[in-house]
Every structure is written in C-alpha cells, then in structure tokens.
Subunit: 257 residues, 2 copies
Amino acid sequence: MKLAISGKGGVGKTTLAGVMARILAARGRKVLAIDADPDSNLASAIGLTGEALSKLSPIASMTSLIEERTGARKGSYGTMFKLNPRVDDFPDDMGVIHEGVKLLLLGCIPQGGGGCFCPENVLLKNLVRHLLVQREEALIIDMEAGLEHLGRGSTGYVDALIIVVEPGQRSIGTARQIKKLGEDLKIRKIMIVGNKVHSDEERKIIEESLSDFPILGHMSHNPKVLQADREGRSPYDMDEKIKEEVKTILRELEKRI
Amino acid sequence: MKLAISGKGGVGKTTLAGVMARILAARGRKVLAIDADPDSNLASAIGLTGEALSKLSPIASMTSLIEERTGARKGSYGTMFKLNPRVDDFPDDMGVIHEGVKLLLLGCIPQGGGGCFCPENVLLKNLVRHLLVQREEALIIDMEAGLEHLGRGSTGYVDALIIVVEPGQRSIGTARQIKKLGEDLKIRKIMIVGNKVHSDEERKIIEESLSDFPILGHMSHNPKVLQADREGRSPYDMDEKIKEEVKTILRELEKRI
C-alpha cells in the first residue's frame, strides 16, 4: 500500500500519518513513513524525541547513498531509478526506526533564498514510482500543506490519496481542489478523513459537503491530541480514543484498496 | 508599509491578513492585499463573495497587463521591473476592490502535474521589490503555509514579516525556522502574533517560548471566527472582539515600523 496524506495546512495530516504508521507497525507490518513537508514534524507525531531525532538527516542530502541504493545518478533525480528499491533496502542510517516505523525525512529548507523544493519533489516522485511495496508493507507519505505537490505531480504514483478536512469551508474547498488535481494525475482512490469534529452536526457538514467522495471516517476534536502537540509527543502514546478512531479509518481504507 | 504574513499551515495567517486589510481600509488607507497562497482564501476573509469573487483572475496569468504596467517582459519575470509600479497602478480588472481593499491573486495550480509555483514566486519577489508604497499605503501579502517561500526568497523585500503562531510546539518550531530563514534574507523586522489563545496560560506558552521575538499581540480562540470560515464570510463583518484585538496588534506594529 502506497499512501499519501494531503490537505489544507493545520487540518491534522501529520497526526493521522503518525498514528496510522504506529498502528500498522504494532500489527507487525513493515512501515516506511516519509515526511515530505519541510515544515512538518512527523517524527514527533510518531514519538521520536531527543537523540534519535537528532540523527535524522534529509534523504535529499544523501546523494551517494541514494545513488548506491537506487541507481539514480547524483544530481539527476529526474532519471528513472535503475533498480526498484524495496522498503527494506533503505539502510538504518538513511532514517531512524521508532516502535517499528522506519522514518525518512525528504528534505529541509536549509537557507533563506537557497532555492525551491523542486529537486526533492522529483526525488519523491521517482521513489514512490519505483519502490516495491509488498502486501504486508505500507508506505505512508505526509505531504506538505496545500496544492503545490499536485502541480509538481509528486504524488502521481500512490495507490491512494487521503485528504484530511475539518468542518470549515476552507479545508473543504481545498479538498475539492485536491480531488480535481489528483484526478489529473490519474490517482484512482481519493478519500476523505474528517478531523477536529466537535459534534454530529459538524460531522454532517463534512459528509454533506463532500458527498461525492468516499469518507473513511472521522477523528474527534481531542484536547489530548493538542496536548501531545504542545509536549512534542505522539498522540498514539497519549490517548486511546484517537487510536480507536484511526483503527476504524484503517478498516475502511483496507476494504477499499 | 510592505508586510508579509507567514506561519505554519492553519494558524490563522489569512484571518489576520483579511481583518488587518479591512481595518486599514476603513481608516481611509490605500490597501493592496495579495493572496500568495494558491490554497488560501484571502478573498473570503476580506468579505468577497459571489460575483465579485468570480471575476478574480491570477495576476500571473495576465502577462500582457503585467508587461504594460510594470515593464517586465512576457516570460521573463526574473528580469528587473523597468518601472517602479505604485499601489494605484494596478487596474481594477487585475483584481477586485471590496470595502476599500484592492485584492490581487498571485496564482493558482491549474492542473495536476502542470508544474511548480516558482515563476509566480519570482513575479511576487520582483513586485514587492519594486512597488512604491507611500506612507499612508499598505501592501499586505498572505503567504503560503510553511517555509518554501523563504527558500525561494519571495519575501526578501518586505519591511516586516509577521509570523502567526498558536499555542503548540509545532507552530512555535515553525516560527523559529522562519526567523532563521528570514534573517538569511536580511528581513529587519520579524515579529510574532499569537492566535487561537484560550487562556493566559496559553498566552504565556507563546510568550515564553518566543521571548527573543517582538510579540505584537494575540488573537483569542474565537468561535465567531470559526463560524465565519464555515460560512465563507469575513471575521471583520461578524465579530467586534477580533477587530479590537487586531487594532491592538496594528498599534504595536506601527510603533515598531
């Protein structure tokens, strides 16, 4: 399963990606999680802290390792990967493992005025295209906020794109745009997860506004998740409710893939 | 005053930009507001709806108008603008005016796989650099979420960069990164506005975590602002409290510029 998680900024993409990765890993699945947002923090949503976190370097900076493992020549991420890498092929020093989740960081913005994030997105696109993912394995990509990754086509080769929305017109509008752009990219499965839902009324707002989408489920407005963010911890380690909600979402997802 | 509003996705950049633009326009100032986020909706935060909104086309698509008004040749936004355009120079059909705010839309992502947002950002950078803004005029740019505009240097020529944060480690971490990258770009004034603040304790979290920044003020957690988003209206037209809070923020800003 190759999965990208998308949506407007602040809707909870990283929360969903982190909790989903931890649940699958706890079931014994091999999980490769990629943080593709230079302004995200999937690491802390998975539960990484301190020393392990400091070891995490962006894969885009490891040109010789990428060349060795994938066959992509230095400075030419646009070329086809010569080998089809497998989830296991990424060595531990290319990322870190926490509670069974192997986490890779796509890149960062090292300097103001230093340039755009286009090369990293080409690398991601080729990696997703050529990575061999077995039945019991999962690739989960936490995308950057907004729409530009769709213009770049970085998510063109996923099996499914999950769009996280909250009960507000802006994130619902973003979901509509993501769907349209995702269809341009011929992504077959584009599905919705609601988040920060306070009430049945708010759940209805999402379901009625997006009735032409498959809806996998909802995550409630949850003070424990906010607390996890404030403390830089994983919601998975702090709250049973969010785990149950994401398990329900995963069951729906697995039915549809 | 040339002002850019930045921050992690979902923190409330657009709310601040929209309310600030409306307050300044109500005082009789000339205000040019630019929506630089293809996934934002500054138009509705200013209060534009229906027919007026449908007239809004991205300036990046108006190549002949840009050429005529600014001297930038078609397809070469990277060159210097030959004339220094003034706030008044942008004709009405390049944007729309609502309650005294002239709104321009930088660009959109028209198609999945259609390309990156780099050319639009070069246009923005040159526009900000060369636009002549008088004492009683304001340019307010609602930036895209995250850090990439700083890598691209699109905000390199503003007088001040306001970073919106909420009481959580993620948006505070983003603020630290924006500050570092903004300093690379030699932006002299980088300041904080807190948002979604529920209590004095949360206000303290922001102020203590970012004690090395000037803090302009805070916007409270506000159900009316959420309602405005759900209904696609401007918070300016729905709530007195947010107006008062943004007026206080503006007073602090004007003291420091």
